[in-house]
Symmetry: C2
Subunit: 217 residues, 2 copies
């Protein structure tokens, strides 16, 4: 059965999934890019951005698995871009250039309606103003038997965790401190929400943890 | 020069240094004991509790280093015991039995005065009611050229971090979620306080991080 997944989501020592003060120049906020050192070295990431080489160990396994069997993505609006409020025009089409790395329908949560955008390589951005449940319903319909990935950011993942609809969540704990930013788990009681650690693995640069929803009675 | 150190302090994925609802039966709160799996397997820990065997790898190195060159300890009152408010009598002498593992003077932060207690093996508990700075001054005087370890709990470490007097802090990030408990870093801006990650190492069960204070100008 199709799963709702979070994958390869990096979290700092102090609990942040991105730095503060996101901008056009710093899509992941101040210091946020450093959270992803472990993934940027992998073959999987190199291939995604059209480069040769990259590591083929366990970090790469997690990075590869993160892109496997996906039929739809859901992103928060800030993960799609730095614009807040009404869309000023149709110009902004995401951080990723003409051929984004999704290759599936991508449902972007926003309070401001906008027409869908078909990009090269199979990615289509749809803008959903009716909330997280509608976005998930549309993503399920689009994904068929494949999985749905909640790409982020932190606030979007928190909302779906609180709604208890995420089946699996792979986090990469990394040895960085940001001091400020977008908290992922702060104040969320994962065990009370039915989540527990299913397995963990360490690499040189990350503590990888798979968290799963306990089947409800 | 003598350093003020935190060592081998375990932190859950969701940022807790101990579980909620500390009690006589659960000194580390509900679920808190599980944070220390990585250390309980080590030779250093086995020796401390008078057992044979134990692992001799990197976890053991961190556990050994944690006990090295210490001249005094500082503990928060809840780390000393489950009693809150006035001391009802002189009966409670810590969680550790007649010969505690400190073997140095131990300064216990409390709002309620109490006479010092000399234990077997070189540990003496002193109760300090004049705040964290006085406790540190007394610990420095007692430690001489040796280091001072801030043993915990989380709230005590937070206070000393905010006072910027901790020189080195070794944290062990572990693959556990507690959901509730005593947060260590939540809301603390370590970089703004002058702290950064100096090095990290991973083992099967932990992401070990050494955090250091940047020398001030």
């Amino acid at each position: 059965m199709a799963k709702v997944r979070v994958n390869a989501f990096s979290v700092s020592l102090d609990g942040y999934g991105a730095g503060p003060e996101q901008s056009l120049e710093q899509p992941l906020g101040v210091g946020g890019m450093s959270l992803h050192d472990w993934v940027r070295g992998t073959q999987s990431f190199h291939q995604m951005v059209g480069q040769e080489g990259g590591s083929t160990g366990l970090d790469n396994e997690f990075a590869t698995r993160a892109m496997d069997n996906l039929g739809a993505w859901i992103l928060g609006r800030n993960m799609f871009g730095p614009i807040r409020g009404e869309w000023p025009d149709e110009e902004w089409k995401g951080w990723w250039g003409p051929s984004p790395p999704y290759h599936t329908p991508v449902f972007v949560l926003t309070h401001h309606p906008r027409a869908s955008i078909e990009m090269a390589g199979g990615t289509t951005f749809h803008f959903v103003t009716e909330g997280i449940q509608v976005a998930l319903d549309r993503a399920r319909a689009a994904a068929g038997s494949k999985d749905i990935r909640i790409g982020g950011g932190a606030s979007t993942i928190r909302q779906y965790l609180q709604a208890r609809v995420i089946d699996e969540m792979h986090l990469a704990l990394v040895p960085k401190v940001l001091g400020r930013g977008e908290p992922l788990l702060t104040g969320l009681d994962l065990p009370a929400l039915g989540y527990s650690v299913a397995e963990h693995r360490t690499t040189d640069d990350a503590l990888h943890v798979n968290i799963r929803k306990t089947p409800s009675n």
